[in-house]
Symmetry: C2
């Protein structure tokens, strides 16, 4: 295992770890729910030991919320525009644990502020691996959907939308609770929702319409969740006015990627689905090389 290391994508609720070869190839991995919210700061040395017991006694490089003020140790954000070099320069080494923590990226624009931790590794890795061009627009759906623009291989813009979180809050609580338990797929109800939500300035009115449409017999109760999801994803994607004729690099898989792909197409963009795990491996390996 000479020259190998362990790479960790350590998020809020989940983490994944890979044993990487010196050449940057993933050789073994583990995935569990021990995200930072389930850990106190003093728990990390033991967590690292447990990961080494499974993957090998190797140095560690970790990205994601592990470097936040709720994680192991706070690693200051690097400011956008930021490329791999700036990210590597901002890494913090915890010597006693033979571990490197990767910083996040902050957008301190005149009009807007935003932050991310972890997604930048996938984005810069996708470019490093040739999966995406150096000037690109990435979309990484999830509880919080991240839009990330790059120019010349550097992150230049970040916009985080609470889309997934709002859907979960509305499904679990409030006036729409109990109405949003149906399946969500790219069908007629989802498309109707997309059309209602895309470009809407009255998102909260559109959300109440889920209830009104069901009460007035215009929306089948089983379709309410798909319609509401369409409204929210439509508002998220439709808020961008830069999608027409543009390729969007989608860092996701599964059902959620399908829904965002449909919304991107509806707004005139062309979605391309990337292998986010491969992108992360490429990005973290580049950072590993630069911080050795």
């Amino acid at each position: 295992m000479s020259g190998g290391y362990i790479a960790i994508d350590w998020g809020t609720t989940n983490r994944r770890a890979w044993r990487m070869s010196a050449a940057g190839e993933a050789e073994a991995s583990l995935k569990d729910g021990r995200g930072i919210l389930s850990l106190t700061p003093d728990a990390y040395p033991a967590e690292i030991s447990a990961i080494r017991a499974q993957l090998g006694a190797l140095p560690v490089i970790a990205a994601g919320m592990v470097g936040s003020n709720r994680g192991w140790r706070e690693v200051p954000y690097v400011d956008a525009p930021a490329g791999v070099d700036a990210l590597a320069a901002g890494c913090v080494t915890i010597k006693h644990a033979a571990a490197v923590l990767v910083p996040g990226v902050a957008l301190r624009g005149a009009a807007r502020a935003d932050v991310m931790r972890g997604e930048e590794v996938q984005v810069l890795g996708a470019i490093a691996a040739g999966l995406a061009p150096a000037d690109a627009l990435f979309c990484q759906p999830g509880t919080h959907n991240k839009w990330i623009a790059t120019e010349d291989g550097r992150v230049t813009d970040i916009a985080t939308a609470l889309t997934g979180e709002l859907f979960a809050l509305l499904r679990g609580h409030g006036i729409l609770a109990g109405m949003l338990d149906g399946a969500v797929a790219d069908g007629a109800a989802f498309q109707d929702g997309l059309a209602r939500g895309a470009g809407a300035r009255d998102l909260t009115v559109a959300l109440f319409e889920v209830r009104a449409r069901v009460l007035l017999g215009r929306l089948a109760p089983d379709d309410a969740a798909a319609f509401a999801s369409g409204v929210l994803i439509g508002a998220d994607v439709g808020a961008r006015d830069d999608l027409a004729g543009r390729t969007v690099q989608l860092l996701a898989g599964g059902a959620l990627a399908d829904l965002y792909a449909a919304a991107i197409r509806q707004c005139g963009g062309t979605p391309v689905t990337l292998d986010s795990e491969r992108a992360f491996a490429a990005g973290i390996h580049r950072l590993w090389e630069l911080t050795r």
Copy 2:
């Protein structure tokens, strides 16, 4: 008490009842938390008896969610455009209880659907009492803010925004929970939020910015709630493109009315605060006269 009656505004979580004179003057009242969510359909006769024990053995007319499918008995919506006559024609009498239930109003537009139950009595009452003109725009903030347009004394448009509910959900759950416990008043942070939210198509991005601004030291933690409230109310009010130079009839009082008034002014409108209790009394009295 000859010719007198009891008027009830019976909502989801609260109810108010007034003993009304034959001339429509409120003579006594009660207010409690026995809204429809705390009652089963078979509980209403006993509830009415208890109200009569306090206010007098008089016939009853009740408006609000009491006529919904979760209330005492479902009273079908009357369709907009709807004036007092249509509302009176849609009332349902429960003879054994000597009670009249007022219907709600439904908007079945080509593009939009919306509903209300209870607010229409205040709106039509405000017009009947001369508090507002027959062609007007009303705003009734609350958990769900209702925008109601009237023409020639009839309700022609309804838009319900989930503004207050979203604020409560974000304060109680998710990534912003714990950040939104500060005071909300019309100060600099609220105005910054208004400016960010008004007309925004990216409301869910603006909401994540609350967190990013605090993390990056651009927003004091104590100001986060006021900023977030400004974003949400700004989006609600700013979604309307018909406020410039227009008077908005505000059916609310207290702190929430102040916040909406500030947002309406920022969007070029002129808020006028109405006495919503007086408006309800005038509306329910008109309906009482028409249904006797």
